[in-house]
Symmetry: C3
Subunit: 182 residues, 3 copies
């Protein structure tokens, strides 16, 4: 009988180890995709809010959202014509983002920015700086960089920024308790 | 040896308790963000469908989506000029929402509403009422309320509505098995 | 004492079994909703990427996204006027999708497609074929089919395609480690 119990306990230990190995971390994975001013505000408010609760935050900047990570004071050389054109059509840095709705040729966007200042809601620039201070990890989609013709030397300085593939994003998402596509 | 086994079992009990403590609930967290007619329909169809399966539902209404929770028959006093303007530009209540695509100055939206009636798909108003009856919890983002200048007295009567911060949303999301950002 | 230990172990076994029963599978649930070219590319890049990592993939095509699953060489008979009109306004097949931003009467969409070809990023058609080969499961929302007036005989041939309700989607999402709404 003692033998039986020992076997049962060893068996349980194995099962518990497997459960622990697959247990998600206190981590949130945010896929920042849209590049709209309002949605990127939402993504960064959630990201900094999660850090304030001591949750790890892995942001994956992909497609339209990568454009806002370009530094407006930097530029890159050696781009082909199409990449130059495409890059020109996209917002360069956080300050050029527009609302997903009610943009109204910029009037709605200006109104919202005015309201944010009045109500003391942090701007996108401030949120990005806070995210950096709080240790929010920013992973930039390499395929999007390549597709849009962005080069690393034109991206912002950010304390915790990496260039990754979709596999890396999926691994982060897989080990997170929360995943959002924004 | 008996002592060993006892220690092993006590150790396992501790590990299992930790796993249980971090086990997600049978709960879904839906961040209703966009305020588009079609997306809010999707959010509420998912919410009521989940309740029919006995899953707890925590909805977090934020940004554009908060506007649809205003009661068209209520109004609030003491708003400043900017808040009045912004509030005027946003849909007041469910009936004023538009499609995210094919709105075509309202024609597409009217067509879809016609199709929904014909195919006996519940309208947004009906879905919201059903959600209330089924116990879907609606949490409204306080920061969005403040930013858009909405006041509590102009919001709809709903059996299970609360005003919360982003921390509360994140806690709900963290303990949910499913999280969606719509 | 031996009796005590036996009871403790039996108790633990029950708790571990419950934890195992509710453990999420190595599976990702993607709700393909928007039907925008760029977002559907993202959804399929994530789906095929996940399969490459041996993760099960359950895609739920709903609302606007169902239109891209229509075969441009097939048609269905017996549609009423409204369904015909609505179906006509929606893209028929992958090649007619537009960008969610910068479409600019088709110029932006054409530019992106050109860039994708140049950078050897798979097209939406190729990604869908790859998804089929890799065993990505496509579940089409029956309510959306009905609402938009689509019939099964006009949908694409795909090795692993089913028609399901929202309950089925929720079950898949519930047992997945990752859920995305795109």
């Amino acid at each position: 009988m003692a033998n039986d119990i020992e076997k049962q306990v060893a068996d349980l230990e194995e099962k518990v180890k497997q459960l622990q190995n697959r247990q998600a971390k206190d981590q949130i994975s945010i896929s920042a995709y849209s590049g709209d001013l309002d949605k990127m505000l939402a993504a960064l408010i959630i990201a900094t809010g999660a850090r304030a609760m001591d949750t790890e935050v892995k942001m994956f900047f992909t497609f339209w959202a990568t454009a806002m990570l370009r530094d407006k004071n930097k530029s890159a050389k050696g781009k082909d014509f199409m990449s130059k054109m495409f890059g020109f059509m996209l917002p360069k840095g956080t300050s050029q983002l527009k609302l997903s709705k009610l943009n109204m040729y910029g009037m709605g966007t200006a109104m919202l920015k005015g309201l944010m200042k009045k109500k003391r809601v942090s701007s996108l620039e401030e949120l990005l700086a806070t995210a950096g201070e709080l240790g929010v990890e920013i992973n930039v989609c390499e395929m999007s960089m390549d597709l849009m013709g962005f080069k690393r030397e034109e991206m912002i300085d950010y304390p915790n920024l990496h260039y990754v593939g979709v596999g890396s994003y999926l691994s982060d998402a897989d080990e997170s308790r929360i995943q959002l596509f924004i």
